[in-house]
């Protein structure tokens, strides 16, 4: 058998009919009057990033004005995930609002649940039980760890490090399993109620968390080894996206963004809630206010969260998780069926809902992304007149144009990642 030869027609012949080398001009779509090198002139270029772009961490849209590769101006556009939670809250009972808080900062849902319950309790002057307090501390710190894990993992991917992302998501999965066994949901936890918790932890749950606190720091140290002295990581993050302490205060930054600039303010330390002042933990504070310091602050915060979790587990003792206050917590079923008064309370709560007195309260808590504030205004009815969310990443993102001044285009991705935004909370 003779070998077959196939003659192929190249789609772009190199020689044309007259034997000249055929070239395809790159600027073929250009108008004839323009020269090939028009793009490299003094004109500024407008680049649109997002809203559907993996590096914007959600449906954020950035319009970037470039001169060459240098950023002249960044104009963020938000609102693509606007759901009208604040408006919706005015038509809901207080406990019905808690599921909405899951969906704001969906990377740390339990911390939002706790913050909302605290705001409603401040409105009503309710003191929660000891076990409830410790469970809430545990919920907040678990949220801090998973939120920072997502942050470090995705920021690593943005800067080209894929492996630590997988390690961190493996650890995050363990917390999600704990959340699932406690609340029945992985993401939409709705773990708190006004005056208590949705449920107590199931049997053996505390051992599961203890196991996590024992083994998790090992993974964190591996992440530390991969990032902290990594030449690429340092080169991409050090002295990039710098903001000074005065400016950070003036821009109302909060959380790790504020502390990385050297401002020593942590709501847990300076306005202790949930008895955080009884816990022994440190607040990491940066000095340069760049991406690298934000990374160091968040990494250290995870180690500190583990310390708090261990102390909270040590103190956790059996006891009631709900206050015995018939205004907010249903009386036991046996009482409601046998005692007149208990039945009236049961009826009023089910039919009317929790009714705080007229007044208002602002409660700020240290969420993973910064200070989350809930401002509730009541007119004495069962639905709030105003439920304002003070979203930390909304205010942190507002400083993005400032942070990106004079940066390179590739730095915009790194700076945007370092802000640690979550669009569910920004757009609400």
């Amino acid at each position: 058998m003779t070998p077959r030869t196939i003659e192929m027609q190249l789609s772009t012949p190199t020689l044309d009919a007259s034997g000249q080398v055929r070239t395809v001009p790159l600027g073929i779509a250009r108008r004839p009057s323009e020269s090939v090198h028009d793009d490299f002139g003094a004109d500024h270029m407008l680049v649109n990033i997002g809203p559907q772009h993996p590096a914007t961490h959600g449906v954020l849209r950035l319009v970037v004005e470039l001169e060459g590769e240098t950023v002249k101006r960044v104009i963020p556009h938000i609102g693509y995930l606007h759901s009208g939670f604040e408006k919706l809250g005015e038509y809901r009972h207080y406990n019905q609002i808690i599921p909405l808080t899951d969906r704001t900062d969906y990377l740390a849902p339990m911390a939002n649940n706790v913050a909302f319950a605290m705001a409603a309790e401040a409105l009503m002057g309710i003191e929660i039980t000891e076990r409830c307090r410790l469970l809430r501390v545990i919920a907040c710190e678990m949220s801090r760890i998973i939120s920072h894990l997502v942050w470090a993992g995705t920021t690593g991917i943005d800067l080209g490090a894929f492996t630590p992302f997988l390690w961190m998501f493996e650890e995050r999965e363990r917390i999600y399993n704990l959340q699932e066994s406690w609340t029945g949901a992985r993401l939409t936890t709705s773990v708190s109620r006004v005056g208590g918790m949705m449920a107590d932890t199931p049997e053996g749950w505390e051992e599961g968390l203890r196991d996590f606190t024992r083994t998790f720091p090992k993974v964190l140290r591996e992440v530390d080894t991969m990032f902290t002295r990594n030449a690429i990581w340092c080169g991409r993050t050090q002295d990039v996206g710098v903001i000074s302490a005065e400016e950070a205060i003036n821009y109302s930054l909060s959380g790790p963004m504020l502390r990385a600039s050297g401002v020593d303010y942590d709501v847990r330390k300076d306005r202790p809630y949930l008895g955080y002042d009884e816990f022994d933990f440190d607040v990491p504070v940066g000095e340069h206010g760049d991406i690298y310091d934000r990374y160091r602050v968040r990494l250290e915060e995870m180690f500190q969260s583990v310390r708090i979790l261990e102390q909270a587990l040590d103190r956790l003792e059996p006891g009631p998780i709900n206050v015995s206050d018939p205004r907010v917590i249903l009386p036991p079923k046996s009482q409601a069926m046998s005692e007149m008064e208990a039945m009236i309370f049961h009826f009023k709560q089910v039919m009317e809902g929790i009714t705080p007195p007229a007044g208002e309260a602002y409660v700020g808590v240290e969420n993973p992304k910064g200070e989350l504030g809930y401002y509730l205004v009541s007119d004495g009815t069962a639905k709030p007149v105003r439920w304002r969310i003070r979203p930390p990443s909304f205010l942190n993102l507002a400083a993005l144009p400032k942070l990106c001044e004079g940066a390179m285009l590739s730095d915009v991705i790194a700076i945007n990642a370092s802000v640690d935004i979550v669009m569910g909370e920004i757009d609400r």
Binding site: I75, K87, E360
Partner: protein
Amino acid sequence: MNESVTAADDAAASVAALQARFSDGVVRHRLVNGQHVVHLAPGTAKAALAWLQVDPAQRFNYLTDITCVEYRDPELELEVVYQLRSLSRRVDLRAKIGLDPEGPLSVETVTDLWKGAEWLEREVWDMFGVVFRGHGDLRRILMWETYAEGHPLRKSFPLRGHWSRAEQTRQALDANPEAHYSLEELSIAEAYRELPKDVQARLAESGRGPLP
């Protein structure tokens, strides 16, 4: 517990100093759930806020939040709420400016005092229609720029909106492509040349033109 008592006392001292400085400027002072609230007269509110920020004894250098409250009772004033904080003194204070919900809603901007106010004021404009005089970039922020249905967090705005769902969908589908970029962005660079002549003319005149 002890610390919060001290903080509340410090806030009380700040309120007293504010009342001494701006006697008529402080309309009312209340203590609600342990938090101090001062109602400022609209005329001198900006001066009072500026004084609170820079006075060496006050140092309210951190603007926690700006928001707005409209009550269900139409007799009550609509309030623009400023949550102030002194980071160095660890003191919080809430200042409010009352406005007539029927009248023109307008207060002076504080963006020259706190940069963080830029987006917060845009949000209050977007959601409540309060105009912040002197704000350099008072655009809608959560709703899109050509959104014409009103200001969603006003009590007169129904939960489902003013228009029918069909009309809302039609409006969204008919949205002017020009709105995908703000006029400010369109003024940048090459995009400008691609614009229709009338948009170029509008940009050359006055930027965005008068507020809707």
